[in-house]
Point group: C2
Chain length 446, copies 2
């Protein structure tokens, strides 16, 4: 596509959105990438870095001359610059930060001190503020002088003389107001805000809950130090959802910005193999239980027919319960005081589902298995009772376990999503076999 | 809390964000709700309806007098009004739409014609446009007159005389520009847009990809007919993620706006029981396979020890593959031409994981099972080979199945997420038993 000279490259870029260009760029081989980079002007280079997947950022930045690195990093918004720098090795990061002009260098170092996943680590400092004691005329004058540096003017934050956040304005309120009015007369108070040390997920949930453009971030003295914008919120929520979904399937490790196709097969392998191996060895437990009840199975092989189904019903219902609870926790719907409520509700759902499936299977057995039971020399009603009771207990206990384990993890300050469905399945495989064979011994006298 | 008179209710509301008030309201019993509703003025009532969970909207609207219904619905933004009306029964919907003033009634009826999940069904028509032939002065004058009705002025869309979208402006560009300049001189062309008939998920993905505030929605003649805003994008993406997560765990039915705790136990039961029942009856297939290989198991009961592990390894790896593919599809990362690539990659990952687990288990068997094999009168190397080959084939084929089924579903225009992990697990349970017992017959001569 882009293989000729500078003019061609720039002409091809002219009609592209930087997001599209970055996605295209990430898909190219190294040679093409190097070729394209040579021809990018500083503005395009900065836009490329802004939209590039995390794993491409270091190589791309290092391909530039020192002069161009400085130009690119200076052009980026504070939050985009910090996001990019967070992907680099410490030494590269220090080297690149040192290239920045003094004021940006200071701000960048401050922002890099916040944990990457905190509100402070995500915020931009390019927000607009005006003082409540200004008139509309003074405020417009101030914004006119500084607006080019601001990420958004849709919301203008109003502070008192100590820099404390006291409310907000919309640019339209200023644009259409009388020039002599005081800002304090038109400010809208009650702007939600978040501490710089809070988790980024909390910030994203607030932006989602209040349907706002941007959320002010405040320091310990309630002074506004930055804002988190709606596009950050989308990115954070998407990342968290992907992480939850992947963890629930037993896929470990940090998710990367790279798409499925751009991730090397070896990385996919590494993220999956440990869970599979661990679960395989844990799965031997089920095997030992099965072996130790060999006698029961030998005496009534009809039991084998219902065994996989009873075991799997536990995995299915446990996985459902875990999924519901983990998602509710992710969406911020559950307070810690709701723990008991959730457990009682899930016990209720488990009992209902368990009863339904147990009755369905009892009916199935009574209709279809009279001959098989006679062949195996076991009483049909006793056999039906064995299967029914096992299902009820297995489903109820699995639902309970599926709901309780993420809540326990949460109360131990672990990520609830690490209690992945496969782990619950492996656990309730064992309990299912124990329940089934115990009832079989009890009711069938084997 | 709020049990006294009008003044108390309004005073208590004064410091609350409507989103917090709506969340609190949804948690109250009917009596308290009725009491609070009596005292709400029209503005608060409209804000309540805007932020209320879907399942509370009908009861709340019907509790108002006709006069208040009209006032509330008129005050809502077009998109919020349509979102609320979409939750009502058809007759209630028609009755309430008829209450609206003529112009809003017409717009609302038009919007209700779009499918609820299309871009047209989600958009608001309260967007700002100016004509490219205007001067900045004329544009500011026009916006000044109409700005109160607009949902956002952060982006102002520029059209030609036919109403075709040709670009956008920011309010700041107008606010700080010279008054005599023509709009056509300062317009930024290349604004992304979406067809009103496209799926809302596509719109949300574009907003996420381009980091934009709002996405213009155009009709078949490329005339701008609405916008979808960033807060809608967050809501859509959250809904889609929740739906994918729930479907992957075998939880069916439409997700509701109600939180986990506010959803009745019976609803939770209904959303889970069908899958569990269906899977239970499908699970009997595994039982029949197990019964039909009874002889093999009788002759070498050591096989039972590794059976649950081999079967489960298929479910785990199949679930991982399905999760990766479904999430990639949801994030819009996979084009249809990538289908074969994905399948080859997953085959590769499956082979790698399968080889690793097979080797680990072969080593385990050679170290720990010499005695048990001798007791069962089967050759240790042959037994290790049986387990190893079964694991390799089971894991590779399950990974393939897990990746392929969602892609097949997609190509049949079904939702890939309906190929839930439990369904894949149940399927590969059967294949796992067949694979294991076939290799046992082959290598152990049983």
């Amino acid at each position: 596509l882009l293989r000729n000279d500078r003019a061609d490259v720039l002409a091809a870029l002219d009609n592209r959105h930087p997001a599209d260009f970055a996605a295209w760029f990430a898909d190219q081989d190294e040679e093409t990438q190097a070729h394209v980079l040579k021809f990018l002007d500083n503005d395009w280079a900065a836009q490329l870095v802004e939209y590039l997947p995390d794993n491409e950022i270091e190589d791309t930045l290092l391909a530039f001359s020192e002069e161009k690195q400085r130009a690119v990093l200076t052009r980026l918004q504070d939050d985009d610059r910090v996001d990019a720098l967070q992907e680099l090795s410490e030494s590269t990061q220090a080297k690149l930060v040192a290239l920045l002009p003094a004021r940006k260098r200071r701000v960048t170092r401050q922002l890099l001190e916040f944990p990457e996943t905190s509100a402070g680590g995500r915020m931009t400092t390019a927000f607009a503020t005006v003082d409540e004691s200004m008139t509309v005329r003074q405020a417009v004058q101030e914004l006119r002088e500084t607006h080019l540096e601001k990420e958004t003017l849709s919301r203008i934050y109003v502070t008192d003389t100590d820099g404390k956040l006291i409310g907000e304005l919309r640019l339209r309120d200023l644009a259409f107001a009388k020039r002599g009015v005081l800002i304090s007369e038109i400010v809208e108070p009650g702007t939600p805000s978040i501490s710089a040390w809070a988790d980024q997920e909390e910030a994203a949930q607030m932006i989602s809950k209040y349907d706002i453009m941007a959320l002010p971030v405040v320091d310990d003295e309630e002074r506004i130090v930055g804002i988190i914008t709606h596009d950050d919120a989308i990115e954070i929520l998407e990342e968290e959802s992907t992480e939850d979904i992947e963890k629930a399937a037993g896929i470990s490790g940090e998710i990367s910005d790279a798409s499925y196709i751009n991730t090397p097969i070896v990385t996919h392998y590494q993220r999956r193999v440990l869970w599979v191996l661990g679960l395989a060895f844990t799965g031997l437990l089920s095997g030992y239980v099965l072996m130790s009840f060999q006698e029961v199975l030998d005496n009534a092989f009809l039991l084998a027919l219902y065994m996989p189904m009873i075991v799997a019903a536990g995995g299915n219902t446990g996985g459902q319960a875990a999924t519901m609870v983990i998602r509710s926790l992710s969406l911020g719907e559950l307070q810690s005081r709701s723990t008991l409520t959730v457990i009682f509700r899930e016990l209720g759902v488990g009992l209902l589902v368990g009863t339904t499936v147990a009755i369905a299977m009892i009916v199935e057995i009574l209709i279809f298995q009279p001959e098989a039971a006679a062949d195996s020399q076991i009483g049909l009603p006793h056999f039906a009772l064995t299967v029914g009771c096992s299902l009820l207990l297995q489903i109820t206990s699995s639902t309970f376990i599926g709901a309780a384990l993420p809540l326990v993890a949460k109360s131990l300050r672990l990520d609830p999503a690490v209690i992945a469905s496969p782990a619950i399945t492996t656990l309730v495989d064992v309990s299912g076999l124990l329940i089934y064979f115990t009832f079989a011994r009890l009711f069938l006298g084997i």
